[in-house]
Amino acid sequence: MQASNNLWRFRGVTPTAMLAFVYLYLPIVVLVVLSFNANRIATLWTGFSFDWYLKVMDNDNILRATKNSLIIACGATVLATSFATMAALAMAALAMAGKRFRGQAFINAMLGLPLLVPEIVTAVASLLFFLALGLDLGLMTVLIAHTVFCIPFAYLPIRARLEGLDPRLAEAAADLYAGPFATFRRVTLPLILPGVLSGAMLAFIVSLDDFVITFFVAGAGATTLPVYIFGLIRMGITPEVNAVSALMLLVSIAFVALSYWMGQRKS
């Protein structure tokens, strides 16, 4: 391999990379360690304790915020993934037919918008839009906003999966008298399922983690976990915040690891 050859060792590359990995993980490790700290003063280690986790589990506000987060993440994932699957199927079919239609570039640009536009701009625009429509800010407005920014995250892996699909399989199904729906359910869907699942998982994490947009469009009754944590942090650094933050990290890490593992399995 390249690395075995002396010529390929660029000076400073290895230490920089090591530094980068330490830099990325040091805060996470410190946060998790301190969440098990027995002491009330959140940054001074005195002994091991599960107390703060028990306190978190007992906190009604945190439980309510977690429930809201899960409702919204599940709703947005289902909506965004099904919309994105449909759109990816149509776009792939159009690309395969070699036909460019007028809206194609426009749709691609629209799908890129939630990824490119700074979150705060999307947040302000959504807030103003909901208020102008006279909608009450709440779970509904958060769900709509989340669905919008989850669509591109769900779309990209599905589209990538469809790109590697042999079109002759669907044609064979059609030759065997399968209708369009049967072809989709029995042939296309099983083949693109890994893409759909990884898209859904990305959408779920992105929704669960979102703070800025939710902070703007959530009313008093739709506080999600990140919004609640932000409120706690602003009030001060406490061991409860450490514990709930560590839990939040754990969920994300579990999801990424799961999606990595699924990706490994398919190949």
Partner: protein
């Protein structure tokens, strides 16, 4: 393959949910925001729908005195300048750390590469708010960094880094580093390494091979990485809020303020619109500057 009308209709129907959702809840709100930026503000938030006004943009540069005369006011310009500076600094530093890291990963064996990329991706997908909070624990007086520096005798007294622009910069570099490494790695991974071997065969040293072969080929990834760091950094809201402690206000904080205590929606809309315009401009300039055919 020809498209009969029925299939065409089916495709349009399949595209409809995504297209309508994005049009109605992404594009339309942006247009509404642009429109609201040229309306007059109502007293307690909201806008006067029938009263046009460019006051929001005037307010950005000038202060209106009691006698209605305008004097130049650089407060908001300074906030924009600071945002550019901090986001630009974060972009440069993440590039300096991110490029060697991506190169390091790209030169590893296939299996190791996948594991290292997973290590880079995990922070990318974990909650940024929580990771920012972790830096508050590290940076504050009496925190890990402060107490270890004192224990080592490297500093006397408090570190006083938290709630300064330095803390914001550290937070930015940390938060957006994966955004730099991943696209650069992607372009390095796709690269034909035989070109570098050819450069070595032709007598290039490591530095020349890096500068003349690897860097130009990695350019699309570098440009993408810079955009992916710069754009979220310049619009960032809670990193300056939490690590800067309200002392190093950035555009995002200023915008949020217009919907909180200041209650000036048109000004908030105008600021958001200017931020959006700058981001689109930066993208346009970057792509024009860097997406030239290789070899110029």
């Amino acid at each position: 393959m020809s498209l009969d009308p029925q299939r065409r209709l089916r495709r349009k129907l399949l595209l409809a949910p995504t297209t309508l959702t994005l049009l109605l809840f992404m594009v339309l709100p942006m247009l509404l925001m642009a429109w609201m930026s040229v309306l007059a503000p109502d007293t307690y938030g909201g806008v006067r729908w029938h009263e046009w006004s460019v006051d929001a943009y005037v307010q950005f540069l000038y202060e209106r005195d009691l006698d209605d005369s305008l004097t130049l006011n650089s407060d908001y310009l300074q906030i924009f300048g600071r945002s550019f500076l901090l986001a630009g600094f974060a972009t440069v530093v993440t590039l300096l750390i991110g490029f060697p890291t991506a190169l390091y990963i790209a030169l590893k064996e296939e299996k190791t590469r996948q594991r290292l990329i997973l290590l880079i991706s995990i922070p990318f997908w974990t909650n940024l708010l929580v990771r920012t909070y972790a830096w508050m624990l590290l940076l504050r007086n009496g925190g890990l960094i402060d107490s270890s520096l004192t224990a080592l005798g490297l500093s006397q007294g408090a570190l006083d880094v938290l709630y300064t622009p330095t803390a914001v910069a550290i937070g930015f570099v940390y938060s957006f580093l994966p955004f730099m490494v991943l696209p650069i790695y992607t372009s390095l991974e796709k690269m034909d390494w035989r070109l570098v071997e050819a450069a070595f065969d032709l007598g290039a040293n490591r530095w020349q091979a890096l500068r003349r072969v690897i860097l130009p080929l990695a350019m699309p990834g570098i440009v993408a990485g810079c955009l992916l760091v710069f754009i979220p950094a310049i619009g960032s809201y809670y990193i300056p809020e939490l690590l800067g402690g309200g002392k190093s206000l950035m555009i995002g904080n200023l915008i949020q303020n217009q919907f909180g205590t200041a209650r000036n929606w048109p000004f908030g809309a105008a600021l958001s619109f200017m931020l959006l315009a700058m981001v689109l401009l930066a993208m346009w300039v970057y792509t024009r500057r860097f997406q030239r055919p290789p070899g110029e």
